[in-house]
């Protein structure tokens, strides 16, 4: 392949990349094929769309060794169920941290009454056992005309449950859940099962029924097995929930951030305006300062912005205010790489080098500086990401993505375009590369 062919292939690659980036960035659903592959939208942080983030500390110190992560998972499940009941679209409940700093992070986008949600989440999960009650006229009377209760609470609650496990039926191999009560619970359970042979006993979590097995015989050893047609997954989930109810881990709300919808909308609009103005300023600055190569750099910069947005969309990076700041800052740094290269190019041309070797030389010379500068910034980003709060992380992540993409766009794209065009006679006038070079260069 000749250099000319090579540069043409490079050019085709750049065009293809640009088209791809535009297609990805366009709103989902507008472009049929791409939408199918990247079926995602931009993920906006709560500070841009309004919403509430809650961080809970889960106190796992009361729990023995191996059950800790299970218990944390249980807390997560309970919170998720409670949040789901609240009707927020796409709530996110995640656990982070280790044993000593276990955290549950709850994100409720667009929630209008966060205080109520907090109240609901804050309740410790309650597991209790209830007896079936036949509905009679007498019962109806005591409830003052409220819907008749079919279940009567007993004294047996999650406090008496030592643990719940998934086990398997020895004959059929079907998954079942075994319960282990403490001594008080064992006695209560003996009484309840004694009273209710042939009837059902309801196991309730947070007031809603989980399961209601029929009592076969009076149980006095404090062990119970819930059989049923469970799939393994279901059985595991149920055991986790029972453990969560049985081992109420105290959770404390340690951080709350609520952003109203007005402020979120406002911040989003402003950030977009700032981003566009920042990008345009750079485009104008580069063209004024470096003329033709500046125009190429400006194109590379726009492609750079598109690529960043495409990566955010594909990787599902959450865009926040600080994250956009990181992105915008990285635009400035991407330009820096081009400045380094073009200053070298000017020097090379001034020293009388021809255009094509000049371009190659400039890139080779500037690379070391670009690499050093970017590596040190990437290290800063890594540190900030490891140690920062979620706001700081957003900043560090977009800045790091920006730096990595800029290494590609500012260097590869600009070089490809410059080399491709330096093969054309039209672009051989050195005057378009910088001031006052034409006469010197033609010597």
């Amino acid at each position: 392949m000749t250099t000319k062919q090579k540069s043409l292939w490079g050019l085709a690659g750049v065009v293809l990349l640009t088209v791809l980036a535009i297609l990805i960035v366009l709103p989902t659903g507008k472009v049929p094929v791409i939408s199918k592959i990247f079926n995602k939208n931009f993920r906006l942080g709560l500070d841009l769309q309004g919403g509430t983030q809650l961080i809970y500390h889960a106190d796992l110190s009361t729990i023995q060794g191996s059950n800790k992560s299970e218990a944390l998972q249980g807390v997560r499940d309970v919170i998720e169920r409670r949040v789901n009941a609240f009707g927020v679209s796409e709530p996110r409940v995640q656990t982070t941290g280790g044993v000593s700093d276990a955290r549950v992070v709850v994100e409720l986008a667009g929630i209008k009454n966060p205080d109520d949600a907090i109240k609901l989440i804050g309740e410790t999960p309650i597991l209790d056992f209830r007896e079936e009650v036949e509905i009679t006229a007498e019962n109806l009377k005591t409830e003052n005309g409220v819907l008749p209760i079919a279940w009567k609470p007993t004294e047996l609650t999650g406090r008496n449950l030592t643990r719940a496990d998934v086990s398997f039926d020895q004959n059929t191999g079907a998954p079942e859940i075994s319960l282990q009560f403490d001594s008080q619970g064992a006695k209560l359970f003996e009484d309840i099962t004694g009273r209710n042979v042939g009837k059902r006993v309801g196991i309730f979590l947070d007031g809603s029924p989980l399961t209601a097995p029929t009592v076969q015989t009076k149980i006095s050893d404090g062990r119970a097995v819930i059989t049923g047609t469970y799939r393994l997954e279901e059985a595991k989930q149920l055991a986790t929930r029972l453990n969560a109810g049985a081992l109420p881990v105290a959770i404390t709300l340690i951080n709350r951030t609520s952003v109203g919808p007005t402020l979120g909308r406002d911040s989003l609009g402003r950030s977009m305006v700032a981003g566009i103005i920042g990008l345009l300023t750079m485009v104008i600055y580069m063209i004024i300062l470096y003329r033709y190569p500046g125009a190429i750099a400006a194109f590379a910069l726009i492609l750079y912005a598109l690529l960043n947005l495409a990566v955010y969309k594909v990787m599902g990076v959450t865009m926040t205010l600080a994250g956009i700041a990181g992105f915008i800052l990285s635009i400035g740094m991407a330009v820096d790489a081009n400045v380094l290269i073009f200053e070298r190019l000017k020097e090379e041309l001034r020293n009388g080098r021809q255009l094509i070797p000049g371009v190659t030389g400039a890139f080779a010379e500037a690379w070391a500086s670009i690499r050093d500068s970017n590596v040190s910034s990437l290290i800063t980003c890594a540190l900030l990401y490891m140690l920062g709060s979620s706001i700081v992380r957003g900043f560090a992540l977009t800045l790091a993505i920006g730096i990595l993409i800029s290494m590609f766009s500012a260097i590869t794209v600009t070089r490809t375009l410059l080399q491709a065009s330096s093969n054309l006679k039209l672009f051989h006038n050195k005057k378009i590369y910088a001031d006052g070079l034409a006469t010197e260069g033609n010597k």
Binding site: I254, G260, T262, G278, M333, V339
Partner: protein, 302 residues
């Protein structure tokens, strides 16, 4: 460029040193007078931002005091809203206060409410201290790596030490800047402030390294008096230095003037820090080398 020659950085170093010394003194004065108020993410507490009709600083203060919230700070923001900082509110307290406010001011809107408890803030303090220690170590290792080969004229220790001196200079003056900024606009030194400082010193140390590297390579190929050689090295790297700061600054200014208000203190600190970082590399770090070398020469002569 002519201007730069005219400035003749190393010959006029006493002016730059004087200027920086003045800035440092002013920074300490500002820090001493107004201090750096840590953000609620470091010390715990709640911040409430409100907007609406009749929502003014005195009105909100009186209303909140009626609700037994006495240790409050009420400030107006640049966005036509009122910001209240107070002790950490429990959820119930928050609900109660908000209901009372809604009754008193029709159409009041809570733009934002942040609440941080002691566990979270303690955690963040530890993490931030770790970040500061690790990045300082990182910078020292980076400097040791870049300057591990000593040159005949200036020892590698001098390069490393003066780069660190320039950094400390930056951190003190950014502290002073933020004390002044926080005094006039509502702001507190939160984790984003730490982030701004770490980002800026990353930029600044790199600027310094670029100049010092040029000095080192010029030392190998040129026979010039040391002062002139440093000036020349600064000149050669100046376009690059200025351009980097200008491009970064331009985008940040767009963010400062048009971007969201919540992170404005952060962006302002970044803007100031980037200017300062470039200044300190050219006008402090470079002349310090000359000063040191001349001092050594005198000692040898004696």
């Amino acid at each position: 460029m002519m201007l730069l020659k005219f400035l003749s950085i190393s010959k006029n170093s006493r002016y730059w040193f004087g200027f920086s010394a003045a800035l440092i003194v002013l920074s300490f004065v500002a820090l001493g007078f107004w201090g750096l108020r840590p953000g609620i993410d470091f010390v715990g507490g709640s911040i409430m931002e409100l907007r609406g009709q009749n929502v003014t600083v005195p009105n909100i203060r009186t209303s909140l005091q009626k609700n037994n919230q006495n240790s409050i700070e009420v400030q107006s923001t640049s966005d036509n809203s009122v910001q209240v900082r107070m002790q950490q509110l429990t959820n119930d307290e928050h609900t109660k206060i908000l209901e009372a406010l809604k009754k008193e001011f029709s159409g009041i809107e809570e733009l934002r409410f942040d609440s941080v408890g002691p566990i979270f803030s303690k955690d963040l303090v530890i993490k931030s201290v770790m970040a500061i220690i690790l990045s300082s170590l990182g910078i020292l290792v980076y400097l040791a790596f870049v300057f591990h080969k000593s040159s005949a004229v200036v020892s590698s220790w001098a390069f490393g030490t003066f780069a660190v001196v320039a950094l400390i200079h930056d951190v003190i003056i950014i502290g002073g800047f933020f004390a002044v900024y926080a005094r006039f606009f509502s702001a507190s030194a939160d984790s984003l402030f730490i982030t701004a400082i770490l980002t800026v010193i990353g930029f600044s140390v790199h600027d310094t390294i670029v100049i010092y590297n040029r000095v080192k390579s010029n030392l190998r190929i040129l026979r010039l008096p040391f002062g002139e050689l440093v000036d020349l090295s600064v000149l050669e790297t100046f376009t690059r230095s200025v351009n980097t700061s200008v491009t970064t600054l331009l985008v940040l200014l767009a963010l400062l003037f048009f971007g969201g208000s919540t992170i404005r203190p952060f962006v302002a600190t970044l803007c100031f820090g980037i200017i300062l970082g470039s200044y300190s590399s050219v006008f402090i770090a470079a002349p310090l080398l000359v000063w040191w070398q001349e001092r050594n020469k005198k000692q040898v002569k004696r």
